[in-house]
């Protein structure tokens, strides 16, 4: 039985959100394949997705995370996200999206991210994520 790609995408986002909120870098890193082709920003070089995840999870505490309903077309997925983080005593909001390709087991095997970061806490606007 082949899983519905929409279910895989939702499950990926659900698990990532849970890991992010818990500050569980290993759980988040495990959502990427070992050979995932990962670019955290359009103008950066490719990186090891797992190493990147472990590094950034250590840089800030996560206060809130939202994922939108992913757009899913076969194994290709775009997921919007927003997170409120605390870095030392400063709150930041990160908002962006991941353009991904999921493996049949639901792990991410390709991802390119685009995002913006802003001081303070900024919850998603009405209608966001739909």
């Amino acid at each position: 039985v082949t899983a519905d790609p929409r279910d895989l995408a939702r499950e990926w986002a659900r698990r990532y959100r849970e890991a992010w909120l818990a500050g569980d870098a290993e759980a988040a890193a495990a959502l990427y394949t070992e050979d995932c082709v990962f670019r955290s920003h359009p103008f950066r070089e490719l990186e090891d997705a797992r190493a990147y995840t472990r590094r950034v999870f250590g840089e800030a505490e996560t206060l809130d995370v939202w994922f939108g309903e992913p757009v899913v077309d076969g194994d290709r997925v775009v997921a919007e996200y927003r997170a409120v983080l605390r870095e030392r005593d400063r709150q930041l909001t990160l908002a962006g999206c991941s353009v991904m390709r999921l493996a049949p087991d639901g792990r991410c095997r390709e991802a390119r991210d685009c995002w913006a970061i802003e001081d303070g806490r900024h919850e998603p606007p009405p209608g966001w994520g739909l």
């Binding site: 359009p42 103008f43 490719l46 077309d73 290709r76 775009v78 919007e80 962006g96 390709e110 913006a116």
Partner: protein
């Protein structure tokens, strides 16, 4: 009544409106109450008049726009697509790379656009594998 716009037609019209800085052409592919969120933390441009004004301001100073789209990801009334743009502005090079997130009305016009992007004051080409 005109047939609904397909997503491919919408994207082609959006690209043309950007390359030609055509504020009327961009307003035509949004609903009258369309919401254009040009940045995750900025106030949206809501409605045809606001979208025209935004387009004039954003695209007006751009010269020699070279705009590419990645392979879209589309599902029903929703779609997302990566884009990569290079242009000149006030004698300087610009590269803007981002993702459009779109929700459409039944007639194929866009009800809401959200985007995230990164800007670099340089001429950069997309990396290998971009947009695929």
């Amino acid at each position: 009544v005109a047939p609904p716009l397909t997503f491919d037609e919408w994207l082609e019209a959006y690209g043309r409106a950007w390359r030609e800085a055509d504020e009327n052409a961009v307003a035509e592919i949004f609903t009258e109450e369309g919401i254009y969120r040009s940045h995750p933390f900025r106030e949206p441009h809501v409605g045809s008049e606001a979208i025209r004004a935004y387009w004039r301001r954003a695209c007006g100073p751009q010269e020699e726009v070279d705009l590419r789209f990645g392979r879209p990801i589309a599902a029903g009334s929703r779609a997302a697509v990566e884009w990569w743009a290079n242009w000149h502005e006030g004698g300087e090079q610009r590269t803007l790379a981002g993702v459009l997130y779109l929700r459409f009305a039944d007639d194929g016009r866009c009800q809401e656009l959200r985007e995230a992007w990164h800007l670099e004051p340089a001429q950069l080409d997309p990396p290998e594998g971009w947009g695929a």
